[in-house]
Subunit: 158 residues, 4 copies
Amino acid sequence: MSRFQPKNPDYRAIAIATFEQQRAMKTLGISIARLEPGEVDLAMDYSADFTQQHGFVHAGIITAGLDTACGIAAFTLMPAATGILTVEFKTNLLAPARGERFAFRATVIKPGRTLTVCEARVYATRDGAETLIATMSGTLMALAARESVATDRAGVPA
Amino acid sequence: MSRFQPKNPDYRAIAIATFEQQRAMKTLGISIARLEPGEVDLAMDYSADFTQQHGFVHAGIITAGLDTACGIAAFTLMPAATGILTVEFKTNLLAPARGERFAFRATVIKPGRTLTVCEARVYATRDGAETLIATMSGTLMALAARESVATDRAGVPA
Amino acid sequence: MSRFQPKNPDYRAIAIATFEQQRAMKTLGISIARLEPGEVDLAMDYSADFTQQHGFVHAGIITAGLDTACGIAAFTLMPAATGILTVEFKTNLLAPARGERFAFRATVIKPGRTLTVCEARVYATRDGAETLIATMSGTLMALAARESVATDRAGVPA
Amino acid sequence: MSRFQPKNPDYRAIAIATFEQQRAMKTLGISIARLEPGEVDLAMDYSADFTQQHGFVHAGIITAGLDTACGIAAFTLMPAATGILTVEFKTNLLAPARGERFAFRATVIKPGRTLTVCEARVYATRDGAETLIATMSGTLMALAARESVATDRAGVPA
């Protein structure tokens, strides 16, 4: 049970639709594993196509999963007819991104009318053991439907 | 002319080799545009495969370019037989990542024996005009050759 | 000459008044050294009262100067009857904060209707030589006059 | 009960001594409320001397408490004869820092031989109710006793 009450009764369908519009998620092989109000888990299998010089998953790819997990988690709590932008995020890399599978787990820390703050962690599964490999804290922004994503504001689509 | 003096006379060949070992760079279509001691520019063409829900490049993909630009910039100043890890980075997203081409420009702010701090910016080119779309500040760590990337330390391969 | 055009012709008086309302600045001995549209320099003398265990200025105090420099720089570009909030910042500490005097230099990177992104650097002067000791990137938010600072939004007064 | 096993049996005495050497803590009225291996709580009473323009505690002062909480938490897990540096931190401000009393709660997320990553939160107590007002993620660095704090490395005393 999530501790959040969504404002949009269709939050689930809209969050899934937004996720599926992210072609990067399909290309990276990332899927939704769990979706509750304010909480999203994503899953990704290892792919050698997205590795760095030691054969581990690249930090930017790890960040892509963390960012989308945060964005969708924040989006579930926004009113209908709202767009979502990522304002900023910080990633701390704790251990090599090696494993067969990766779980991105995001939760809203502070929802807000304009800005929502999320935290996320990513765990690698390797030989059956799960290791925390990175953390994110990030700020997401709600964009009213009447506002273009091309406005002068800082903050851009997730 | 860079203001930095590299410790490793082979810095250029080793930096390029490390970049080329990052399979993620090849998959994302990112290449080296300029490489000087402590300064690296990367270039990426737009690809719909790596977009978010509005058709702009995903923030994680933008971050991948920024992170590798920072990592290679830091690496050029490290001694021979050193590995390189990303410790952390923060990305501020300033404008939508739309354009035909993206330029990632990283520079070392503070080189160090153990830790190096870099800053990077990414510019989108669209219809001939260049726009700053995101910034990164990040910390990179030198890893002595005798140390395994599997050590207990926080900080992981870029 | 600043590259920014302020929206509020009284930006200077209002920015200075806001700075002077920050009692923390007076307590820390921080003053305005330069104020242009989108650019602010602050100055602080060393005080043993605000040191950490090695006698250098505490990173939180350094951050206080960086944050206010960013906040006032952002504020100079906002319309009249607007409040200003700090949303987030990240500080990288590059060298010990030792010296007789510290200069905080902030500049707006991306102004926006709602969010403004700033960067700042702090330099220590010691025996006549100036050293870069820390950097900040931060996000500031404009708050319309009709909105209370007690709204549900994330983002709080600087 | 902490989940961490300290390497230094004297961790408590040394952590307290390091805290007490931070004159900034005394000046800000911050004290240790709880200290376990890898976990530290600090407490601070409201003081008008450290406020911003709305009378709330300045974000830099909040950051000072968060940073020291993280630094001492990391320090409890380091071996004897080690110094501690803050490398970087990021603070997200979630709500105004108003209240009679503030609790800073830090925990180590990933200890390491060289780098330790911590997270911290600060809660304001106002009229008996506690509100989460800010979060920090930060990186701390162990400094071997033989190394001067004046080394060329990035990373500086907390």
